[in-house]
């Protein structure tokens, strides 16, 4: 649940050497803030599946980061009940030099599984990922698709109450994509909550029944997915026509 949440980032957050810091202080400039999210309020009930759509840089990933508890809002409140498993970008937290198996164990533990649970579910993860012998190879040798397979397998086998997905499904091949989708649907049908970011309208429509549309950090629409998608695609098409003209 989000209560009028705002999140801003400092511009020039990349400049962090002492020299730059001192120059900054000497010039007495207040650093500008970039507002990734402004006054966002919504509540997602238990068992809902919600898609987040919007242009690149609209604040979708920031929204997920806030929901996962990776960062704290500047204003407002974020409340999350239950265990959330996030699939944020590829290989969330995988270490390139460790093998797939080691990464699975560490990631599952990081998501809050006990050692016994990890041992019990390990085979399930490996079976689901279908990457064969590569499980004992360092993750840096993996292809993007393999990495995503493994990350997805961990996230779904951890059996979270809330699944957060940040447009990762695009890289799997068709077979795995279908498998993931089936798993997510099963997940949804068993009453779990899903929050997913996707640029693929088809994927979003098939998984979710509600959508949030973000534009430059503002919540433009919140409602049944078909309606939100219609106005979103209309706006995007209009924008595309405008910029090509």
């Amino acid at each position: 649940m989000f209560q009028s949440v705002g999140k801003s980032f400092a511009r020039h957050a990349g400049q962090m050497l002492i020299r730059e810091r001192v120059m900054h202080l000497l010039r007495h400039k207040r650093s500008e803030r970039f507002h990734a999210l402004r006054e966002i309020s919504f509540a997602i009930g238990h068992g809902e599946s919600v898609a987040v759509v919007g242009h690149n840089g609209a604040g979708k990933s920031t929204l997920l980061a806030l929901a996962t508890g990776l960062c704290e809002p500047d204003s407002g409140r974020v409340m999350v009940h239950g265990r959330a498993a996030a699939l944020l970008e590829l290989g969330s937290g995988f270490h390139p030099d460790l093998t797939g198996a080691e990464n699975v164990r560490i990631n599952a533990a990081l998501m809050g599984l006990s050692r016994r649970e990890v041992r019990r579910k390990f085979d399930e993860v490996v079976a689901f990922a279908e990457i064969g012998d590569f499980i004992d190879e360092p993750v840096r040798t993996y292809s993007t698709g393999m990495m995503m397979r493994l990350a997805f397998s961990v996230a779904v086998t951890v059996d979270p109450d809330i699944l957060l997905i940040d447009e990762v499904l695009g890289v799997g091949d068709l077979a795995f994509y279908a498998k993931c989708q089936e798993r997510i649907l099963h997940f949804r049908d068993s009453g779990k909550t899903i929050l997913c970011v996707s640029h693929s309208t088809a994927t979003a429509m098939s998984i979710c029944d509600r959508a949030l549309w973000l534009d430059h950090g503002r919540l433009m629409a919140d409602g049944p997915i078909a309606r939100v998608m219609d106005s979103y695609t209309a706006a995007m098409t209009a924008h595309a026509e405008y910029s090509t003209r």
């Binding site: 400092a10 002492i18 960062c71 704290e72 969330s92 937290g93 990081l110």
Partner: protein, 241 residues
């Protein structure tokens, strides 16, 4: 969970052989310089004596530097997994304890070979080491948080380590330090550690109470201060990394 985390570090760090090589070479060079070039007859078991300084100093510098960069080095983890942030610098220090164990093994072997015998005072060792670990964890917490905001912190830390090598009684005994500097030396946990180690291992005496008290006080103080600063800064990690 902490244990799982350590696998991450263990696999990255150097093997046992490497962690033996550095103190061995240092011991050899320093022993050569201070027994052949500047002979000083008052220090018996010079190799063991030097090693008592090198082992804690090595542990200290390596964990301080890796601890300082730990948050920035694990940016992927910080940005994507909501794991308690304190774990990152602390495990980076604890993972260095593996090397510490190996180097302590070396220290004990060198001492036993040079004819020092095991005595009851060795029971003090775990306490002295624990203090050192608490101290370095505190430093790691503080400097890893600061390093997120000021990236050259790590270079300052590295320079400080070079300076400390001379200011910690590694190749000279504590007794040679002029009286007026002694209280200052005792406040430096690394020096206090080296001094206590030598008393326990070489002289077979229990460590001086006041030194031990200062060591404990400074270690716990630094740890709490580090934790406080870390807690204060950690909400900003996400956007600064």
């Amino acid at each position: 969970m902490l244990k799982d985390f350590r696998i991450r570090y263990r696999n990255m760090s150097l093997g046992v052989l490497w962690s033996l090589l550095n103190p061995l070479v240092m011991m050899g060079v320093l022993t050569f310089v201070f027994t052949r070039i500047f002979p000083n007859p008052n220090i018996p078991h010079f190799a063991g004596f030097v090693l008592c300084g090198i082992v804690p100093f090595n542990f200290f510098t390596v964990s301080w530097v890796t601890g300082t960069t730990s948050i920035v080095d694990n940016a992927g983890l910080i940005k994507r997994v909501p794991v308690p942030r304190e774990i990152v610098p602390i495990t980076s220090v604890l993972s260095n304890c593996v090397h510490l164990l190996v180097q302590m093994g070396l220290l004990f072997s060198v001492l036993l070979i040079s004819g020092v015998s095991v005595n009851r005072q060795w029971l003090w060792l775990p306490l002295v080491w624990a203090m050192q670990i608490v101290f370095v964890c505190g430093l790691a917490l503080f400097f890893s948080a600061v390093n997120v905001f000021i990236r050259d912190t790590r270079y300052l830390v590295e320079s400080a380590c070079t300076v400390l090598f001379w200011l910690v009684p590694i190749m000279y005994p504590f007794e040679w330090i002029p009286k007026k500097y002694i209280p200052l030396y005792e406040l430096n946990p690394v020096a206090a550690q080296v001094m206590s180690l030598r008393r326990i291992l070489l002289a077979g005496e229990s460590p001086v109470g006041s030194t031990l008290a200062k060591l404990a006080g400074v270690s716990v103080g630094v740890f709490l201060f580090g934790l406080l600063v870390f807690r204060r800064l950690k909400p900003m990690f996400y956007e600064r990394i």
